[in-house]
């Protein structure tokens, strides 16, 4: 009917149609429907269609990626790059500054604490210390003692 059957299917159908009047009639009717549908005229879009379309496309906000945004704002791009450069410079300065004599004295004063590696690393040695007396227990016992 629409010419889209595969060759094998078409031959099989034609073979059947040659012996079946009912199906032959039905196929002819479907073909007639197809031809009738061709009678509907095509319409052309109005003359204003393209103009309106172009206007609508032009009104669309342009999509920009990150770099395009930087390219369209050179001042922002300059400020951002200066900020990054400043951060890198400050970072490199603090890392390379040598210790002065005052700093070394402070470290030496605190060395006794710093050298107690066990305390610094896991606080486990602190568990050996006696438990502090509970303040509430003390307050509970005091009135009894008075009595």
């Amino acid at each position: 009917m629409d010419g889209r059957l595969k060759e094998g299917e078409r031959l099989e159908m034609e073979k059947h149609l040659s012996t079946c009047a009912v199906c032959q009639l039905r196929v002819n009717e479907f073909r007639a429907v197809h031809v009738l549908l061709d009678e509907l005229p095509m319409i052309e879009p109005s003359a204003a269609f393209d103009v309106r379309m172009q206007a609508r496309v032009a009104a669309e906000p342009a999509k920009q990626n990150w770099w395009a945004w930087f390219a369209s704002s050179p001042r922002v791009a300059f400020a951002a790059s200066m900020l990054v450069a400043a951060m890198v410079w400050v970072g490199s300065q603090t890392a390379d500054t040598p210790l002065n004599a005052g700093d070394i004295d402070k470290i030496n004063q605190n060395m006794s604490v710093l050298e107690n590696y066990d305390v610094i690393s896991d606080f486990a040695p602190l568990s050996d210390l006696p438990q502090p007396v509970q303040a509430d227990d003390a307050s509970d016992t005091k009135p009894n003692q008075q009595m």
Partner: protein, 191 residues
């Protein structure tokens, strides 16, 4: 479409030029209103333009284009139906393209063979009404199959159904058309 994706405005203009007539005709036959069909066609192209950067050529461009168009048309047909129901359940449908077609007849009266014109116009009206009466999914299937000449694979992707479901849909649609157009079909089938 890949050129449009690359930002080539000229290619979008070519795309528009190539597909606007088939798209407007498809939408016109779906919604039966020329102005609305053009508005919907513009919406389709605008969506294509907006989605150009995300377009992945996994399917044919026509499949993608008519899938957008079909979805918009089906939504529009449903919206129109509810609007009509709100206005009046029994009101005759006069504010459509048929009025325009009938006005053309006044001009046609100047034609030497007015009787022939009237016959042709009556036939066209019958055919239009038969297509209109189809449920919207069947109508979309027939329009894509008959007028856009898309293959079953493409149409089934557009309508989001299997190929066998599409063939069944098309068979029911053409069967309905055969019955609706029986007087015209009989004339042709006899020839």
């Amino acid at each position: 479409m890949l050129d449009v994706q690359a930002g080539d405005e000229q290619s979008f203009a070519l795309l528009l030029h190539r597909y606007r007539t088939p798209l407007v005709n498809f939408l016109y036959r779906m919604v039966r209103n020329r102005e609305q069909a053009e508005d919907l066609a513009q919406e389709v192209f605008l969506r294509v333009y907006r989605a150009r950067e995300d377009y992945v050529p996994s399917a044919k461009f026509t499949t993608w284009l008519f899938r957008i168009a079909t979805n918009l048309a089906l939504n529009s047909v449903r919206d129109n139906r509810y609007q009509r129901m709100e206005i009046s359940l029994d009101a005759p449908l006069t504010a459509d393209a048929e009025d325009g077609e009938e006005k053309k007849l006044d001009v046609a009266e100047m034609h030497p063979n007015i009787e022939q014109h009237l016959i042709e116009e009556t036939r066209r009206k019958m055919i239009r009404r038969a297509i209109e009466k189809l449920p919207e999914k069947q109508r979309a299937a027939v329009l894509l199959h008959k007028y856009q000449e898309l293959d079953y694979g493409e149409i089934s992707k557009i309508l989001e159904c299997s190929e066998s479901a599409l063939k069944s849909l098309l068979f029911r649609a053409y069967e309905t058309l055969r019955v609706e157009l029986a007087p015209l079909v009989a004339q042709r089938a006899v020839r």
